[in-house]
């Protein structure tokens, strides 16, 4: 059960933290239609995060931070709001600060392609809860990837400026791809091994790139620290600021009801 819990934390944290970055876009998108779409994607991911964190807590209650006796804070929120940075298991691509709309599109294309491949594999998972979360998530992720893919092609073939910005965005995002498919033992044992999915993900990205007329940048992997990256709790510098904002109200009220 502990390994399943750890695995649910990984997928749950990816969703939670990436949703946090996406929700920063609210009221800032290029037009209302995109504002609504981005909020929608963030909402889907918050929903997935809630289910996955709850599953993690149920599978291994020892993971759940302890609050003062009688605190009404539910497990999903204890995990989201009362863990410190080093206990989060999300990949760094989920957490890096937002750039411009091209960065949003490039990152979303990669994140949704990757997560969709994982969730597709998990639809048949032995754990019925994980399987159900995956089945719902597959439909959501397909929409996210579609949104990102259409915008990716639009920006690639739109204007010189959009092409230039998309090129810069790819340079920022691509170095974080190897981390997505560097599998941990837990993923291999109880989840979908992302290393096995690397080819499949690469094929999808190549297809989008081909339609867009772009080529993948020559981008070596972003190093971790002594080999540790997001899955091992080694995050980027901005992550502590993201958490400070995410958690500030909840932590001020450990006995609060919301």
């Amino acid at each position: 059960a502990t390994e399943l819990a750890q695995y649910c934390l990984m997928l749950g944290d990816d969703a939670l933290i990436y949703a946090q970055r996406l929700s920063e876009w609210t009221s800032r998108a290029p037009d209302l239609e995109e504002d609504i779409a981005i909020a929608n994607i963030a909402l889907d991911l918050v929903g997935q995060a809630r289910l996955l964190l709850a599953r993690a807590a149920a599978a291994d209650p020892s993971l759940v931070p302890t609050l003062p006796e009688g605190s009404p804070v539910p497990d999903e929120d204890r995990l989201a709001y009362f863990r410190d940075a080093g206990d989060f298991r999300n990949v760094r691509l989920a957490e890096v600060p937002n750039g411009d709309f091209a960065e949003l599109v490039a990152r979303l294309l990669v994140m949704s392609t990757w997560r969709l491949a994982i969730l597709q594999r998990l639809v048949g998972h032995a754990d019925a809860v994980v399987a159900a979360i995956a089945a719902k998530g597959v439909k959501e992720l397909a929409y996210h990837r579609d949104f990102a893919g259409r915008w990716f092609v639009t920006l690639a073939r739109g204007t010189e400026e959009s092409y230039r910005r998309l090129t810069d965005a790819m340079r920022a995002v691509w170095p974080l791809i190897p981390e997505l498919t560097a599998s941990t033992e837990i993923e291999v044992r109880v989840g979908a091994d992302p290393a096995v999915l690397a080819d499949e993900i690469g094929v999808v990205l190549d297809q989008v790139l081909a339609v867009a007329g772009m080529t993948a940048p020559d981008a070596p992997a972003l190093a971790g620290v002594r080999g540790r990256t997001g899955r091992q709790g080694m995050h980027s510098e901005s992550f502590s600021m993201l958490l400070a904002e995410l958690q500030v109200v909840a932590r001020a009220h450990p006995m609060g009801r919301w």
């Binding site: 290029p30 037009d31 809630r50 995410l246 609060g256």
Partner: protein, 314 residues
């Protein structure tokens, strides 16, 4: 020209008198069109600017459930803005032009959004009091004389009622929490009560456009009528919640079968309307930054669409 216009005017007046809808293809007086553009655009702008004070707390929502609720609500506001800009476009003006009028300060939005959100309780208070006041203003507009506006309002009012209940429910939950949370709710209500009352506009005596707007059926009640309705509606809700309003003159008037209440600070009201409220500059700057930062994206989308068109035709 006057000769040609007379039957059109008659038909227009008959539609209004019969409480029927004017539709985009129908003839309408220039002033009616202008007044409507101003009113519907201001309403659309209010939805869009209104995303900011609540959006300010999305990243800090204290539970994942509340984060989802708030994200969905702010998303709905963008949706309302979308319908209303579409309704305005049927009057012959583009969304882009309307946005430019907003960020250049030529068109207004509801002054309530020039007040800051200072705690998470404000998310609840905005739902309860601000959306509540908006509903009082808007329900009569479902029967407004201009078709696209009236239909947009029907959909919007439905969602606004839902938001109002959600806001009230948040406050209710917080009141069942800690002492700090209860104090936070009361402090928030103290701040928003007077600005909420001002949402109905100046007293009837100082509201010069009301008469014409009522004649045209694009306004259905006076400011003071709606304000009274709001006070009467809110008092029992406050009691149920366990909060008070910061008005010593608030009390039941048996004779009028209504609550008496004190006078809002109209000097502050006009100060804020004129652009000097706590957040006016920040709200417009935020909107302008989003519009300016998005220009290259909209350009790219247009360029791509026109290429696709060329490819399709070739």
């Amino acid at each position: 020209m006057q000769v040609d216009q007379a039957p059109l005017e008659e038909a227009f007046e008959a539609t209004i008198a019969g409480n029927d809808r004017i539709e985009p293809r129908d003839w309408m007086p220039d002033d009616y069109r202008k007044t409507l553009i101003r009113q519907v655009a201001q309403h659309a702008h209010s939805e869009i600017i209104g995303m900011q004070p609540e959006g300010n707390w999305i990243t800090r929502a204290p539970s994942l459930r509340r984060k989802a609720v708030l994200l969905a609500k702010v998303q709905d506001e963008a949706g309302h803005g979308l319908y209303l800009y579409s309704a305005t476009e049927t009057l012959g003006i583009s969304r882009d032009e309307l946005t430019r009028r907003l960020i250049s300060g030529k068109q207004k939005y509801s002054s309530i959004f020039n007040y800051p959100t200072l705690t998470y309780a404000d998310v609840g208070t905005i739902g309860w009091l601000v959306d509540g006041a908006a509903i009082c203003n808007q329900v009569p507009l479902c029967r407004t004389s201009y078709g696209p506006y009236g239909r947009a309002m029907i959909r919007i009012c439905k969602e606004e009622s839902f938001h109002q209940r959600q806001g009230y429910e948040l406050l209710m939950t917080m009141m069942r929490g800690t002492d700090e949370q209860r104090a936070m709710v009361q402090e928030s209500v103290n701040r928003f009560w007077w600005p909420a009352l001002m949402m109905f506009g100046p007293p009837d005596g100082d509201s010069p456009n009301t008469e014409q707007s009522m004649a045209w059926g694009i306004k259905r009640h006076t400011n003071d009528e709606l304000r009274q309705r709001f006070v009467d509606m809110s008092m029992p809700q406050a009691e149920a919640l366990g909060v008070t309003f910061p008005d010593p003159e608030l009390k039941w008037n048996e004779e009028r079968d209504s609550y008496d209440y004190g006078e809002p600070d109209w000097e502050e009201f006009w100060h804020v309307v004129k652009g000097n409220g706590p957040c006016n500059a920040a709200r417009v700057a935020h909107r302008k930054a989003a519009y300016d930062d998005g220009a290259w994206v909209r350009d790219a989308a247009m360029a791509f669409a026109s290429q696709a068109g060329r490819v399709g035709r070739s």
